[in-house]
Amino acid sequence: MRVLTHCLSFGKPRSLIGLWLGLTGLLAAIALSSLLYGAGDIGPARAWQALQHMGTASGGEARFVLTELRMPRLWIGLVVGAALGIAGALLQAVTRNPLAEPGLLGVSAGAAFAVTLAILWGADTATLRVSVAQLGALGGCLCVLAAARLQGIGDDPIRLILAGAILSGLLHSLSSLILLYDQYTADEIRFWVVGSLAGRQLDDLVPLFPSLGIAALLTVMLARPLAALALGEHVAIGLGHHPRLVRLLVIVVVALLVGGATAAAGPIAFVGLVVPFAARALAGPDIRRTLWLCLPLGPIVVVSADIVSRLVVPPSELPLGVLTALIGAPVLIGVVRGRRLPTL
């Protein structure tokens, strides 16, 4: 894998735009396949036919499956993938740690725990769930960063991940404990808590847009200062930036993105690790380029994983979170085992 990364980063293409267009084309192809393939008995041929006659009144079962089941899934996959990819890249830039990943650092677990609590206490409107998840994500973020400040854990990428893993483990056990005691919450949340795109509706996406819009705007504004921060705190100050403010805002953006994604699809780990890792391998270390590439790469990973999750054990489905972990864990091990961690 290291060899591959090396080849990719030295063959850095002149134009980011070409790379971006290529990836977006790939994403379009994957998105189409995600409409065509499924765990049920609507095969690619029937789905394709239904897709072609989308404009007409006729339809039937295939059309229903397409518009009511696969379309919402695709859209949520696109949004969740982009949000998690960007959040991972931001978190890695701000902690200067290539392993910092929202799922591993307890950010997703914080969001999931907060949502579990909210459902336990009777909340179930979608809007409330999004903001609750975002608050939980912010809490998780702050907890693990506070832990990182103790005893210089922040200096050691792997110890930060350990702190995050402990926090995640703790929050997951607490969530499970709540589920044991409360059957209603358990039913509501069981599939959600492992991370999945199945059974979502387009309406689930709407409450995300305001906060994702804010996050996108902030990301555009923060990209340059974050790139300067990669040169070191003092250099960034010398260039007229405000590192503390930048870091604070980045944490808020990460919480908005991860909280939103978790509210829509449950906690999905490793996407925030794999996607920025691939983006850096393709386009070099500058956070601005990484962020641009995460935009198509995140959805590529999530939507393809979702397709695979439908196909491996038909007619059942493997939860998406399980699949991303299967893809992500080897990448994590690869990065850690690399003789030299890529510094950010």
Binding site: V220, R224, G232, H234, V235, G238, L239, G240, D286, T343
Partner: protein, 290 residues
């Protein structure tokens, strides 16, 4: 258009000045700096000569790096002010200050695979904004900075693949692209061998010739004597001597700063003071012998 330039104008703006505002006046008034509860510098007054190379020297822990941190607002003063052209640097918006004052910390670290040109482009940050991004003028200034540091042929190379001297020149090029009238450097040649040191010092001298005010902290007194126009010698948080190296450096000062004896000569080629026969003070030697 006449070729005649009045003497006044020639003094005010030197030719080939890359900086926007020439000859800034940097003054330190009653400055006290501390790290947490520990006071490092108390009630310091200074004036840094414009358009010259000033070297801050002194033994380890004398407060010279702390002073530089105070001059560059990395460290907020407990008391007193640092004035740049009469304006308190703590009150200037940080982007405004970054247009007037560039800072190069000790041994800065570039991210892997960042190229020289990409690094130098960061110097334009204070001049850009969210609305006003990259412009042809920025490109011209970056190219000029690369040219001035002799890095044009290496522009597309990763910074971490360069030699120590080239790397430091790349960082200085970034500071040049910032187009400030003042440049602060913290030990710009630490960890460099002699050849690379000379490479960096000569570049710094040429910047001062072009009109920049340079303030640098250096460890090595000999280099300070050779390359600085103005010396500030610090000991236990106080300025104990100040002036041109030739007039300032004496065996007594060297003994006070570093606790060593030495003789002084004048370099016949450059006129800079040369330290010779440097040795430990006799009583220290006796003390360790018995």
């Amino acid at each position: 258009m006449t070729h005649d330039i009045s003497a006044g104008e020639r003094d005010a703006t030197r030719p080939d000045t890359p900086s926007a505002t020439p000859a800034p006046d940097m003054t330190v008034r009653d400055l006290s700096l501390s790290y947490g509860p520990v006071a490092v510098i108390e009630n310091l007054d200074l004036r840094l000569p414009p358009g010259r190379v000033t070297a801050i020297v002194g033994p380890n822990g004398c407060g010279k790096s702390t002073l530089l941190a105070g001059l560059s607002r990395l460290l907020k003063p407990r008391d007193g002010t640092v004035l740049l052209d009469g304006a308190d640097i703590q009150r200037l918006p940080s982007r405004q200050l970054a247009k007037r004052l560039a800072l190069l910390p000790q041994q800065p670290h570039a991210p892997e695979a960042l190229t020289v040109a990409e690094l130098v482009r960061f110097g334009r940050h204070p001049h850009q904004s969210w609305l006003r991004q990259w412009s042809p003028e920025d490109k011209r200034i970056v190219d000029a900075a690369l040219d001035m540091t002799g890095l044009t042929p290496l522009a597309q190379r990763p910074v971490d693949a360069l030699s120590g001297g080239q790397r430091q020149r790349a960082w200085i090029a970034m500071a040049i692209a910032q187009q400030t009238a003042t440049l602060l450097l913290d030990e710009p040649t630490s960890a460099l061998d002699l050849g690379h040191q000379v490479e960096v010092y000569e570049l710094i001298q040429s910047l001062a010739t072009a009109g920049k005010t340079i303030v640098m902290v250096i460890h090595d007194l000999a280099s300070a004597c050779r390359y600085a126009d103005h010396l500030i010698a610090m000991h236990q948080g106080r300025v104990v001597a100040e002036g041109p190296p030739g007039e300032t450096v004496t065996p007594a000062l060297v003994k006070r700063l570093y606790g060593v004896e030495c003789s002084l000569m004048t370099d016949p080629a450059t006129g800079a003071p040369l330290l010779t026969n440097v040795r430990r003070t006799r009583d220290v030697l006796d003390g360790s012998a018995t």
